[in-house]
Protein backbone atom coordinates (compact mmCIF):
# COMPACT_ATOMS: atom_id res chain seq x y z
CA UNK A 1 0.00 0.00 0.00
CA UNK A 2 2.75 2.43 0.98
CA UNK A 3 4.79 1.26 -2.02
CA UNK A 4 1.85 1.96 -4.31
CA UNK A 5 1.47 5.46 -2.89
CA UNK A 6 5.17 6.26 -3.13
CA UNK A 7 5.34 4.87 -6.65
CA UNK A 8 2.41 6.94 -7.78
CA UNK A 9 3.81 10.10 -6.20
CA UNK A 10 7.19 9.58 -7.85
CA UNK A 11 5.45 9.03 -11.19
CA UNK A 12 3.86 12.47 -10.92
CA UNK A 13 7.22 14.24 -10.77
CA UNK A 14 8.25 13.72 -14.42
CA UNK A 15 4.73 14.72 -15.48
CA UNK A 16 5.03 17.96 -13.53
CA UNK A 17 8.42 18.64 -15.12
CA UNK A 18 7.03 17.99 -18.61
CA UNK A 19 4.16 20.36 -17.86
CA UNK A 20 6.58 23.07 -16.71
CA UNK A 21 8.73 22.65 -19.83
CA UNK A 22 5.71 22.79 -22.15
CA UNK A 23 4.33 25.95 -20.53
CA UNK A 24 7.77 27.55 -20.76
CA UNK A 25 8.21 26.55 -24.41
CA UNK A 26 4.66 27.55 -25.34
CA UNK A 27 5.14 31.11 -24.14
CA UNK A 28 8.57 31.27 -25.77
CA UNK A 29 6.96 30.38 -29.10
CA UNK A 30 5.32 33.81 -29.08
CA UNK A 31 7.34 35.89 -31.51
CA UNK A 32 9.22 38.85 -30.05
CA UNK A 33 11.58 39.69 -27.24
CA UNK A 34 10.19 38.44 -23.88
CA UNK A 35 11.66 41.43 -22.04
CA UNK A 36 9.96 43.81 -24.47
CA UNK A 37 6.69 41.84 -24.09
CA UNK A 38 6.88 41.92 -20.29
CA UNK A 39 7.59 45.63 -20.06
CA UNK A 40 5.16 46.58 -22.79
CA UNK A 41 5.32 50.09 -24.21
CA UNK A 42 6.93 51.60 -21.13
CA UNK A 43 10.26 49.91 -21.76
CA UNK A 44 13.43 51.96 -21.55
CA UNK A 45 16.75 50.51 -22.74
CA UNK A 46 17.96 50.35 -19.13
CA UNK A 47 14.88 48.56 -17.80
CA UNK A 48 14.94 46.17 -20.76
CA UNK A 49 18.54 45.34 -19.91
CA UNK A 50 17.62 44.79 -16.24
CA UNK A 51 14.71 42.46 -17.10
CA UNK A 52 16.88 40.52 -19.57
CA UNK A 53 19.49 40.03 -16.86
CA UNK A 54 16.95 38.95 -14.19
CA UNK A 55 15.29 36.49 -16.58
CA UNK A 56 18.69 35.24 -17.72
CA UNK A 57 17.82 36.07 -21.34
CA UNK A 58 21.51 36.64 -22.02
CA UNK A 59 22.16 32.98 -21.24
CA UNK A 60 21.17 29.81 -23.09
CA UNK A 61 17.63 28.45 -23.08
CA UNK A 62 18.23 25.64 -20.58
CA UNK A 63 19.65 28.07 -18.01
CA UNK A 64 16.67 30.35 -18.68
CA UNK A 65 14.31 27.49 -17.96
CA UNK A 66 16.11 26.60 -14.73
CA UNK A 67 15.96 30.23 -13.56
CA UNK A 68 12.25 30.52 -14.42
CA UNK A 69 11.41 27.16 -12.88
CA UNK A 70 13.31 27.77 -9.63
CA UNK A 71 11.47 31.09 -9.29
CA UNK A 72 8.17 29.33 -9.95
CA UNK A 73 8.93 26.71 -7.30
CA UNK A 74 9.35 29.50 -4.77
CA UNK A 75 5.96 30.90 -5.76
CA UNK A 76 7.41 33.70 -7.89
CA UNK A 77 5.58 33.71 -11.22
CA UNK A 78 6.54 37.26 -12.08
CA UNK A 79 4.30 40.30 -12.14
CA UNK A 80 1.29 41.09 -14.29
CA UNK A 81 1.99 43.50 -17.13
CA UNK A 82 -1.40 45.19 -16.94
CA UNK A 83 -1.83 45.53 -13.16
CA UNK A 84 1.68 45.13 -11.78
CA UNK A 85 0.43 42.63 -9.17
CA UNK A 86 2.46 39.50 -8.39
CA UNK A 87 1.02 36.74 -10.62
CA UNK A 88 1.06 34.03 -7.97
CA UNK A 89 -1.15 35.97 -5.53
CA UNK A 90 -3.53 36.90 -8.33
CA UNK A 91 -3.80 33.29 -9.54
CA UNK A 92 -4.32 31.96 -6.03
CA UNK A 93 -7.04 34.49 -5.22
CA UNK A 94 -8.93 33.74 -8.46
CA UNK A 95 -8.41 30.00 -7.99
CA UNK A 96 -10.39 29.96 -4.73
CA UNK A 97 -13.32 31.68 -6.44
CA UNK A 98 -13.40 29.06 -9.21
CA UNK A 99 -12.62 26.16 -6.91
CA UNK A 100 -15.64 26.71 -4.66
CA UNK A 101 -17.97 26.66 -7.68
CA UNK A 102 -16.32 23.62 -9.25
CA UNK A 103 -16.07 21.58 -6.06
CA UNK A 104 -19.64 22.34 -4.95
CA UNK A 105 -21.15 21.49 -8.34
CA UNK A 106 -19.13 18.32 -8.95
CA UNK A 107 -19.78 17.04 -5.42
CA UNK A 108 -23.52 17.65 -5.78
CA UNK A 109 -23.59 16.15 -9.28
CA UNK A 110 -21.78 13.00 -8.11
CA UNK A 111 -24.10 12.63 -5.14
CA UNK A 112 -27.11 12.53 -7.46
CA UNK A 113 -25.70 11.02 -10.63
CA UNK A 114 -23.86 8.00 -9.19
CA UNK A 115 -26.92 6.44 -7.48
CA UNK A 116 -29.09 7.42 -10.45
CA UNK A 117 -26.68 5.72 -12.84
CA UNK A 118 -26.65 2.58 -10.72
CA UNK A 119 -30.43 2.48 -10.57
CA UNK A 120 -30.59 2.93 -14.34
CA UNK A 121 -28.20 0.00 -14.80
CA UNK A 122 -30.16 -2.13 -12.36
CA UNK A 123 -33.38 -1.44 -14.27
CA UNK A 124 -31.65 -1.78 -17.65
CA UNK A 125 -34.06 -1.10 -20.55
CA UNK A 126 -36.84 -0.40 -18.07
CA UNK A 127 -38.77 2.85 -17.97
CA UNK A 128 -36.53 4.40 -15.29
CA UNK A 129 -33.43 3.50 -17.30
CA UNK A 130 -34.75 4.95 -20.55
CA UNK A 131 -35.83 8.13 -18.79
CA UNK A 132 -32.53 8.61 -16.96
CA UNK A 133 -30.42 7.88 -20.05
CA UNK A 134 -32.51 10.25 -22.16
CA UNK A 135 -32.16 12.97 -19.53
CA UNK A 136 -28.40 12.37 -19.26
CA UNK A 137 -27.91 12.46 -23.04
CA UNK A 138 -29.91 15.68 -23.20
CA UNK A 139 -27.86 17.28 -20.39
CA UNK A 140 -24.69 16.11 -22.12
CA UNK A 141 -25.74 17.97 -25.26
CA UNK A 142 -26.45 21.35 -23.67
CA UNK A 143 -23.33 23.51 -23.47
CA UNK A 144 -22.80 24.95 -20.00
CA UNK A 145 -22.75 28.54 -21.23
CA UNK A 146 -26.14 28.22 -22.92
CA UNK A 147 -27.68 26.48 -19.93
CA UNK A 148 -26.27 29.31 -17.81
CA UNK A 149 -27.86 31.91 -20.07
CA UNK A 150 -31.22 30.08 -19.94
CA UNK A 151 -31.15 29.90 -16.12
CA UNK A 152 -30.18 33.56 -16.04
CA UNK A 153 -33.11 34.47 -18.29
CA UNK A 154 -35.53 32.40 -16.21
CA UNK A 155 -34.48 33.01 -12.59
CA UNK A 156 -32.71 36.33 -13.02
CA UNK A 157 -34.74 38.26 -15.58
CA UNK A 158 -38.19 36.66 -15.72
CA UNK A 159 -38.81 35.56 -12.11
CA UNK A 160 -36.22 37.92 -10.59
CA UNK A 161 -35.48 35.47 -7.79
CA UNK A 162 -31.74 35.66 -8.06
CA UNK A 163 -29.18 38.36 -8.81
CA UNK A 164 -28.24 38.32 -12.49
CA UNK A 165 -24.49 38.77 -12.57
CA UNK A 166 -21.67 39.41 -10.16
CA UNK A 167 -19.89 37.90 -7.25
CA UNK A 168 -19.57 38.51 -3.52
CA UNK A 169 -17.02 36.63 -1.43
CA UNK A 170 -18.16 34.53 1.51
CA UNK A 171 -16.04 36.45 3.99
CA UNK A 172 -17.74 39.77 3.24
CA UNK A 173 -21.39 38.71 3.01
CA UNK A 174 -22.24 35.00 3.29
CA UNK A 175 -25.93 35.40 2.41
CA UNK A 176 -25.40 37.29 -0.83
CA UNK A 177 -22.36 35.15 -1.65
CA UNK A 178 -24.68 32.16 -1.61
CA UNK A 179 -27.27 33.89 -3.79
CA UNK A 180 -24.65 34.72 -6.41
CA UNK A 181 -23.31 31.16 -6.34
CA UNK A 182 -26.62 29.35 -6.87
CA UNK A 183 -26.91 29.79 -10.63
CA UNK A 184 -23.29 29.03 -11.64
CA UNK A 185 -23.25 25.98 -9.36
CA UNK A 186 -26.64 24.81 -10.66
CA UNK A 187 -25.41 25.23 -14.25
CA UNK A 188 -22.33 23.08 -13.77
CA UNK A 189 -24.23 20.63 -11.57
CA UNK A 190 -26.68 19.92 -14.41
CA UNK A 191 -24.01 19.79 -17.12
CA UNK A 192 -21.75 17.39 -15.26
CA UNK A 193 -24.61 15.21 -14.11
CA UNK A 194 -25.08 13.80 -17.63
CA UNK A 195 -21.46 12.69 -17.95
CA UNK A 196 -21.24 11.13 -14.51
CA UNK A 197 -24.61 9.37 -14.77
CA UNK A 198 -23.69 7.70 -18.06
CA UNK A 199 -20.35 6.56 -16.67
CA UNK A 200 -21.85 5.21 -13.45
CA UNK A 201 -24.45 3.32 -15.49
CA UNK A 202 -21.88 1.83 -17.88
CA UNK A 203 -19.58 0.76 -15.04
CA UNK A 204 -22.45 -0.84 -13.11
CA UNK A 205 -23.71 -2.68 -16.19
CA UNK A 206 -20.27 -4.11 -16.77
CA UNK A 207 -20.07 -5.34 -13.18
CA UNK A 208 -23.63 -6.70 -13.22
CA UNK A 209 -22.67 -9.04 -16.06
CA UNK A 210 -19.91 -10.69 -14.03
CA UNK A 211 -20.16 -14.19 -12.55
CA UNK A 212 -19.94 -13.19 -8.91
CA UNK A 213 -23.15 -11.17 -9.24
CA UNK A 214 -24.94 -14.18 -10.71
CA UNK A 215 -23.49 -16.17 -7.83
CA UNK A 216 -24.72 -13.67 -5.27
CA UNK A 217 -28.19 -13.82 -6.81
CA UNK A 218 -28.08 -17.61 -7.01
CA UNK A 219 -27.38 -17.93 -3.32
CA UNK A 220 -30.63 -16.10 -2.71
CA UNK A 221 -29.55 -12.58 -1.77
CA UNK A 222 -32.16 -9.92 -2.25
CA UNK A 223 -31.76 -7.58 -5.23
CA UNK A 224 -30.93 -4.65 -2.98
CA UNK A 225 -28.21 -6.61 -1.18
CA UNK A 226 -26.73 -7.68 -4.53
CA UNK A 227 -26.78 -4.13 -5.79
CA UNK A 228 -25.50 -2.26 -2.76
CA UNK A 229 -23.16 -4.79 -1.18
CA UNK A 230 -21.71 -6.47 -4.25
CA UNK A 231 -22.18 -4.43 -7.42
CA UNK A 232 -21.91 -0.92 -6.04
CA UNK A 233 -18.38 -1.16 -4.66
CA UNK A 234 -16.82 -2.47 -7.84
CA UNK A 235 -18.82 -0.22 -10.07
CA UNK A 236 -17.69 2.95 -8.34
CA UNK A 237 -13.98 2.72 -9.25
CA UNK A 238 -14.15 3.88 -12.89
CA UNK A 239 -16.70 6.56 -11.95
CA UNK A 240 -14.37 7.86 -9.26
CA UNK A 241 -11.59 8.28 -11.84
CA UNK A 242 -14.02 10.10 -14.14
CA UNK A 243 -15.05 12.46 -11.34
CA UNK A 244 -11.39 13.41 -10.92
CA UNK A 245 -11.10 14.10 -14.65
CA UNK A 246 -14.30 16.15 -14.62
CA UNK A 247 -12.98 18.21 -11.72
CA UNK A 248 -9.73 18.96 -13.55
CA UNK A 249 -11.39 19.61 -16.90
CA UNK A 250 -13.78 22.07 -15.31
CA UNK A 251 -10.88 24.15 -14.02
CA UNK A 252 -9.84 24.53 -17.65
CA UNK A 253 -13.37 24.96 -18.97
CA UNK A 254 -15.00 27.11 -16.33
CA UNK A 255 -14.14 30.31 -18.22
CA UNK A 256 -17.41 30.20 -20.17
CA UNK A 257 -19.60 29.93 -17.07
CA UNK A 258 -17.61 32.68 -15.35
CA UNK A 259 -18.20 34.81 -18.43
CA UNK A 260 -21.98 34.21 -18.35
CA UNK A 261 -22.26 35.23 -14.70
CA UNK A 262 -19.38 37.75 -14.63
CA UNK A 263 -17.50 35.92 -11.88
CA UNK A 264 -13.88 36.92 -11.27
CA UNK A 265 -12.47 33.39 -11.38
CA UNK A 266 -9.38 31.72 -12.77
CA UNK A 267 -10.92 30.93 -16.17
CA UNK A 268 -11.85 34.55 -16.71
CA UNK A 269 -8.33 35.57 -15.64
CA UNK A 270 -6.79 33.41 -18.41
CA UNK A 271 -9.14 34.78 -21.06
CA UNK A 272 -8.64 38.40 -20.00
CA UNK A 273 -4.88 37.86 -19.92
CA UNK A 274 -5.02 36.49 -23.48
CA UNK A 275 -6.93 39.59 -24.61
CA UNK A 276 -4.48 41.89 -22.79
CA UNK A 277 -1.46 39.90 -24.03
CA UNK A 278 -0.42 39.72 -20.38
CA UNK A 279 2.04 36.87 -20.90
CA UNK A 280 3.29 36.43 -17.31
CA UNK A 281 -0.35 35.93 -16.22
CA UNK A 282 -1.10 33.50 -19.09
CA UNK A 283 2.03 31.54 -18.25
CA UNK A 284 1.27 31.53 -14.52
CA UNK A 285 -2.32 30.41 -15.02
CA UNK A 286 -1.42 27.64 -17.46
CA UNK A 287 1.26 26.33 -15.11
CA UNK A 288 -0.95 26.57 -12.04
CA UNK A 289 -4.01 24.90 -13.61
CA UNK A 290 -1.94 22.12 -15.18
CA UNK A 291 -0.23 21.42 -11.84
CA UNK A 292 -3.57 21.36 -10.01
CA UNK A 293 -4.87 18.97 -12.69
CA UNK A 294 -1.91 16.62 -12.18
CA UNK A 295 -2.36 16.82 -8.39
CA UNK A 296 -6.11 16.09 -8.58
CA UNK A 297 -5.40 13.00 -10.65
CA UNK A 298 -2.71 12.01 -8.16
CA UNK A 299 -5.09 12.31 -5.20
CA UNK A 300 -7.80 10.42 -7.11
CA UNK A 301 -5.35 7.59 -7.81
CA UNK A 302 -4.11 7.53 -4.22
CA UNK A 303 -7.67 7.22 -2.91
CA UNK A 304 -8.61 4.59 -5.50
CA UNK A 305 -7.60 1.59 -3.32
CA UNK A 306 -10.32 2.61 -0.83
CA UNK A 307 -12.93 1.67 -3.44
CA UNK A 308 -10.99 -1.13 -5.07
CA UNK A 309 -8.46 -2.79 -2.76
CA UNK A 310 -7.12 -4.87 -5.67
CA UNK A 311 -5.41 -1.68 -6.86
CA UNK A 312 -2.40 -1.00 -4.71
CA UNK A 313 -2.23 -4.49 -3.25
CA UNK A 314 -0.06 -5.91 -6.06
Amino acid sequence: MLRFALNRILMAIPTLLIVAVSVFVLIRLIPGDPAQIMLGDLATPASLEAVRRSLGLDQNIVVQFVIWFSHALRGDLGTSISTGQPVFGLVLERFFVSAQIVVLSVAAASLFAVPAGMIAAWRQNGLADLGLVAAATLLLSIPSFWLGLLLLMLFGLKLQWLPVVGYVSFSTDPYHALLYLIMPVLTLFLTEMGVILRMARAATLEVMGLDYITHARAKGLSESAVLWRHACKNAFGPTWTLIGLVLGNLLGGIAVVETVFTIPGLGRLVVDAIFARDYPVIQGCLLFIAIVYVLINLVVDLLYPIFDPRVGAE
Partner: protein, 272 residues
Protein backbone atom coordinates in the same frame (compact mmCIF):
# COMPACT_ATOMS: atom_id res chain seq x y z
CA UNK B 1 -30.79 -3.71 -35.91
CA UNK B 2 -29.63 -0.95 -33.64
CA UNK B 3 -29.25 1.44 -36.55
CA UNK B 4 -32.99 1.78 -36.58
CA UNK B 5 -33.40 2.41 -32.85
CA UNK B 6 -35.37 5.62 -32.27
CA UNK B 7 -32.33 7.34 -30.74
CA UNK B 8 -30.08 6.56 -33.67
CA UNK B 9 -32.75 7.66 -36.12
CA UNK B 10 -33.27 10.97 -34.31
CA UNK B 11 -29.50 11.46 -34.21
CA UNK B 12 -29.16 10.80 -37.93
CA UNK B 13 -32.01 13.21 -38.73
CA UNK B 14 -30.51 15.98 -36.55
CA UNK B 15 -27.04 15.57 -38.04
CA UNK B 16 -28.50 15.51 -41.57
CA UNK B 17 -30.42 18.74 -40.81
CA UNK B 18 -27.26 20.47 -39.56
CA UNK B 19 -25.28 19.35 -42.61
CA UNK B 20 -28.09 20.52 -44.89
CA UNK B 21 -28.24 23.90 -43.12
CA UNK B 22 -24.45 24.20 -43.35
CA UNK B 23 -24.37 23.33 -47.07
CA UNK B 24 -27.24 25.69 -47.85
CA UNK B 25 -25.75 28.39 -45.62
CA UNK B 26 -22.52 28.27 -47.60
CA UNK B 27 -24.25 29.23 -50.86
CA UNK B 28 -27.59 30.84 -49.98
CA UNK B 29 -29.20 32.51 -46.97
CA UNK B 30 -32.57 34.34 -46.83
CA UNK B 31 -30.77 37.62 -46.13
CA UNK B 32 -27.13 38.65 -46.23
CA UNK B 33 -25.94 37.58 -42.74
CA UNK B 34 -23.83 40.76 -42.45
CA UNK B 35 -26.48 43.16 -43.82
CA UNK B 36 -27.21 45.81 -41.16
CA UNK B 37 -30.79 47.12 -41.20
CA UNK B 38 -31.65 49.48 -38.36
CA UNK B 39 -35.34 49.45 -39.28
CA UNK B 40 -35.41 45.75 -38.30
CA UNK B 41 -33.55 46.27 -35.03
CA UNK B 42 -34.74 43.63 -32.49
CA UNK B 43 -37.52 42.57 -34.87
CA UNK B 44 -39.20 39.60 -33.12
CA UNK B 45 -39.59 36.26 -34.93
CA UNK B 46 -42.26 36.67 -37.60
CA UNK B 47 -43.05 36.55 -41.28
CA UNK B 48 -40.31 38.96 -42.39
CA UNK B 49 -37.58 37.57 -40.15
CA UNK B 50 -38.48 33.96 -39.33
CA UNK B 51 -36.24 33.81 -36.24
CA UNK B 52 -36.12 37.53 -35.59
CA UNK B 53 -33.33 40.07 -36.02
CA UNK B 54 -30.47 41.12 -33.75
CA UNK B 55 -29.27 44.44 -32.31
CA UNK B 56 -28.07 45.55 -35.76
CA UNK B 57 -31.21 44.31 -37.51
CA UNK B 58 -29.33 41.38 -39.04
CA UNK B 59 -31.49 38.34 -39.84
CA UNK B 60 -30.95 35.66 -37.17
CA UNK B 61 -31.86 32.71 -39.41
CA UNK B 62 -29.35 33.80 -42.05
CA UNK B 63 -26.67 34.23 -39.42
CA UNK B 64 -27.43 30.82 -37.91
CA UNK B 65 -27.11 29.19 -41.35
CA UNK B 66 -23.84 30.98 -42.07
CA UNK B 67 -22.67 30.03 -38.57
CA UNK B 68 -23.55 26.40 -39.25
CA UNK B 69 -21.35 26.29 -42.32
CA UNK B 70 -18.46 27.93 -40.43
CA UNK B 71 -18.78 25.52 -37.49
CA UNK B 72 -19.13 22.44 -39.70
CA UNK B 73 -16.17 23.46 -41.82
CA UNK B 74 -13.99 24.09 -38.75
CA UNK B 75 -15.05 20.76 -37.23
CA UNK B 76 -14.50 18.74 -40.40
CA UNK B 77 -11.05 20.27 -40.88
CA UNK B 78 -10.08 19.77 -37.24
CA UNK B 79 -11.36 16.19 -37.01
CA UNK B 80 -9.65 15.28 -40.30
CA UNK B 81 -6.35 16.82 -39.21
CA UNK B 82 -6.44 15.38 -35.69
CA UNK B 83 -7.46 11.85 -36.73
CA UNK B 84 -5.05 11.83 -39.68
CA UNK B 85 -2.08 13.08 -37.70
CA UNK B 86 -3.05 11.10 -34.60
CA UNK B 87 -3.51 7.83 -36.48
CA UNK B 88 -0.20 8.30 -38.31
CA UNK B 89 1.67 8.95 -35.06
CA UNK B 90 -0.18 6.13 -33.30
CA UNK B 91 0.71 3.64 -36.04
CA UNK B 92 4.30 4.79 -36.06
CA UNK B 93 4.86 4.74 -32.30
CA UNK B 94 2.93 1.51 -31.77
CA UNK B 95 4.60 -0.39 -34.56
CA UNK B 96 8.17 0.92 -34.53
CA UNK B 97 8.55 1.15 -30.73
CA UNK B 98 11.97 2.04 -29.27
CA UNK B 99 13.28 5.60 -29.20
CA UNK B 100 10.89 6.93 -31.83
CA UNK B 101 8.04 5.73 -29.65
CA UNK B 102 9.47 7.15 -26.45
CA UNK B 103 10.26 10.57 -27.93
CA UNK B 104 6.88 11.02 -29.62
CA UNK B 105 4.98 9.70 -26.59
CA UNK B 106 6.81 12.13 -24.31
CA UNK B 107 5.40 14.98 -26.43
CA UNK B 108 1.96 13.39 -26.54
CA UNK B 109 1.88 12.91 -22.77
CA UNK B 110 3.00 16.49 -22.23
CA UNK B 111 0.00 17.67 -24.27
CA UNK B 112 -2.30 15.27 -22.42
CA UNK B 113 -1.22 16.71 -19.08
CA UNK B 114 -3.32 19.83 -19.75
CA UNK B 115 -6.98 19.71 -18.84
CA UNK B 116 -9.69 20.11 -21.48
CA UNK B 117 -9.89 23.33 -23.35
CA UNK B 118 -6.95 24.92 -21.51
CA UNK B 119 -4.36 23.71 -24.03
CA UNK B 120 -6.43 25.20 -26.85
CA UNK B 121 -6.59 28.51 -24.92
CA UNK B 122 -2.80 28.52 -24.47
CA UNK B 123 -2.22 27.71 -28.13
CA UNK B 124 -4.66 30.42 -29.24
CA UNK B 125 -2.67 32.90 -27.17
CA UNK B 126 0.35 31.99 -29.28
CA UNK B 127 -1.26 31.44 -32.71
CA UNK B 128 -3.83 34.22 -32.53
CA UNK B 129 -7.60 33.95 -32.39
CA UNK B 130 -9.13 33.45 -35.83
CA UNK B 131 -10.65 30.68 -37.96
CA UNK B 132 -7.33 29.01 -38.78
CA UNK B 133 -5.97 29.57 -35.29
CA UNK B 134 -8.91 27.59 -33.91
CA UNK B 135 -8.40 24.74 -36.38
CA UNK B 136 -4.69 24.61 -35.54
CA UNK B 137 -5.17 24.88 -31.76
CA UNK B 138 -7.96 22.29 -31.58
CA UNK B 139 -6.14 19.90 -33.93
CA UNK B 140 -3.06 20.01 -31.73
CA UNK B 141 -5.21 19.63 -28.62
CA UNK B 142 -7.08 16.55 -29.93
CA UNK B 143 -4.27 14.75 -31.81
CA UNK B 144 -2.81 13.21 -28.61
CA UNK B 145 -6.13 11.53 -27.78
CA UNK B 146 -6.17 9.78 -31.16
CA UNK B 147 -2.47 8.92 -31.00
CA UNK B 148 -2.79 7.24 -27.63
CA UNK B 149 -5.87 5.27 -28.65
CA UNK B 150 -4.42 4.07 -31.99
CA UNK B 151 -1.09 3.22 -30.36
CA UNK B 152 -2.90 1.04 -27.84
CA UNK B 153 -4.76 -0.82 -30.59
CA UNK B 154 -1.57 -1.25 -32.65
CA UNK B 155 0.36 -2.54 -29.64
CA UNK B 156 -2.16 -5.32 -29.18
CA UNK B 157 -2.42 -6.03 -32.94
CA UNK B 158 1.29 -6.29 -33.63
CA UNK B 159 1.56 -9.46 -31.55
CA UNK B 160 -1.23 -11.18 -33.49
CA UNK B 161 -0.51 -14.02 -35.89
CA UNK B 162 -1.64 -12.29 -39.07
CA UNK B 163 0.74 -9.40 -38.50
CA UNK B 164 3.57 -11.77 -37.74
CA UNK B 165 2.70 -13.76 -40.89
CA UNK B 166 2.93 -10.61 -42.98
CA UNK B 167 6.32 -9.85 -41.46
CA UNK B 168 7.58 -13.39 -42.11
CA UNK B 169 6.39 -13.21 -45.71
CA UNK B 170 8.92 -10.45 -46.11
CA UNK B 171 6.50 -7.54 -46.44
CA UNK B 172 7.99 -4.16 -45.60
CA UNK B 173 6.93 -2.61 -42.30
CA UNK B 174 5.11 0.14 -44.19
CA UNK B 175 3.14 -2.43 -46.22
CA UNK B 176 2.31 -4.40 -43.08
CA UNK B 177 1.19 -1.28 -41.23
CA UNK B 178 -0.98 0.10 -44.01
CA UNK B 179 -2.47 -3.13 -45.36
CA UNK B 180 -2.76 -5.28 -42.26
CA UNK B 181 -2.70 -3.10 -39.15
CA UNK B 182 -4.48 0.10 -40.22
CA UNK B 183 -7.72 -1.56 -41.46
CA UNK B 184 -8.13 -3.06 -38.01
CA UNK B 185 -7.89 0.37 -36.42
CA UNK B 186 -10.61 1.89 -38.59
CA UNK B 187 -13.51 0.92 -36.31
CA UNK B 188 -12.16 2.50 -33.10
CA UNK B 189 -10.94 5.54 -35.06
CA UNK B 190 -14.44 6.01 -36.51
CA UNK B 191 -16.00 5.80 -33.06
CA UNK B 192 -13.54 8.36 -31.69
CA UNK B 193 -13.88 10.67 -34.70
CA UNK B 194 -17.67 10.73 -34.32
CA UNK B 195 -17.51 11.94 -30.73
CA UNK B 196 -14.64 14.27 -31.57
CA UNK B 197 -16.90 16.00 -34.08
CA UNK B 198 -19.11 16.92 -31.11
CA UNK B 199 -16.19 17.99 -28.92
CA UNK B 200 -14.93 20.32 -31.64
CA UNK B 201 -18.37 21.90 -32.23
CA UNK B 202 -18.64 22.49 -28.48
CA UNK B 203 -15.07 23.78 -28.08
CA UNK B 204 -15.38 26.06 -31.11
CA UNK B 205 -18.62 27.60 -29.87
CA UNK B 206 -17.18 27.98 -26.35
CA UNK B 207 -14.09 29.74 -27.71
CA UNK B 208 -16.23 31.96 -29.94
CA UNK B 209 -18.45 32.72 -26.94
CA UNK B 210 -15.34 33.81 -25.02
CA UNK B 211 -14.40 36.08 -27.91
CA UNK B 212 -11.39 33.95 -28.82
CA UNK B 213 -12.95 32.27 -31.83
CA UNK B 214 -14.01 33.49 -35.23
CA UNK B 215 -13.99 37.29 -34.86
CA UNK B 216 -17.23 39.26 -35.45
CA UNK B 217 -18.98 40.36 -37.62
CA UNK B 218 -18.67 36.87 -39.15
CA UNK B 219 -21.42 34.89 -37.37
CA UNK B 220 -20.86 31.73 -35.35
CA UNK B 221 -23.30 30.22 -32.87
CA UNK B 222 -20.90 30.99 -30.02
CA UNK B 223 -20.29 34.65 -30.82
CA UNK B 224 -24.02 35.20 -31.52
CA UNK B 225 -24.75 34.03 -27.95
CA UNK B 226 -22.02 36.29 -26.58
CA UNK B 227 -23.46 39.24 -28.52
CA UNK B 228 -26.96 38.45 -27.21
CA UNK B 229 -25.95 38.68 -23.55
CA UNK B 230 -26.73 42.38 -23.01
CA UNK B 231 -30.16 42.10 -24.69
CA UNK B 232 -31.56 38.94 -23.10
CA UNK B 233 -34.30 40.90 -21.31
CA UNK B 234 -35.71 42.59 -24.39
CA UNK B 235 -34.88 40.02 -27.10
CA UNK B 236 -34.94 36.54 -25.60
CA UNK B 237 -34.86 34.86 -29.03
CA UNK B 238 -31.31 36.11 -29.54
CA UNK B 239 -30.23 34.00 -26.56
CA UNK B 240 -32.37 30.99 -27.43
CA UNK B 241 -31.93 30.09 -31.11
CA UNK B 242 -28.10 29.92 -31.33
CA UNK B 243 -27.95 27.79 -28.17
CA UNK B 244 -30.71 25.56 -29.50
CA UNK B 245 -28.66 25.03 -32.66
CA UNK B 246 -25.57 24.01 -30.68
CA UNK B 247 -27.57 21.70 -28.40
CA UNK B 248 -29.50 19.98 -31.20
CA UNK B 249 -26.26 19.46 -33.12
CA UNK B 250 -24.55 17.97 -30.08
CA UNK B 251 -27.60 15.84 -29.30
CA UNK B 252 -27.58 14.49 -32.87
CA UNK B 253 -23.88 13.71 -32.73
CA UNK B 254 -24.16 12.09 -29.28
CA UNK B 255 -27.07 9.87 -30.34
CA UNK B 256 -25.38 8.97 -33.61
CA UNK B 257 -22.10 8.40 -31.78
CA UNK B 258 -23.76 5.93 -29.38
CA UNK B 259 -25.22 4.08 -32.38
CA UNK B 260 -21.89 4.00 -34.23
CA UNK B 261 -20.15 2.71 -31.14
CA UNK B 262 -22.74 0.02 -30.51
CA UNK B 263 -22.40 -1.06 -34.12
CA UNK B 264 -18.62 -1.06 -34.37
CA UNK B 265 -17.60 -2.04 -30.87
CA UNK B 266 -19.82 -4.94 -29.83
CA UNK B 267 -18.19 -5.16 -26.41
CA UNK B 268 -19.66 -1.78 -25.54
CA UNK B 269 -23.13 -2.65 -26.85
CA UNK B 270 -25.79 -1.24 -24.58
CA UNK B 271 -23.29 -0.19 -21.96
CA UNK B 272 -23.61 3.55 -22.13
Amino acid sequence: MRWTSPGALLGAILVALVLAAALTGAVWTPYDPLQIDFAARFAPPGARHLLGADAFGRDVLSRLMAGASTSVMISLLTVTLATGLGSGLGLLTGYVRGWTDRTIMAFINALLAFPGILLALGLLAVIGANKYGIVAALSIAYTPVVTRMVRGVVLSLREREFVEASRIMGNSPIHTMLVHVLPNCVAPITVLATSMFGWVILAESALSFLGLGVPPPAPTWGNMLAAARPYLGQAAWLGIFPGLCISLTLLGINLLGDAVRDRLDPRMRGLS
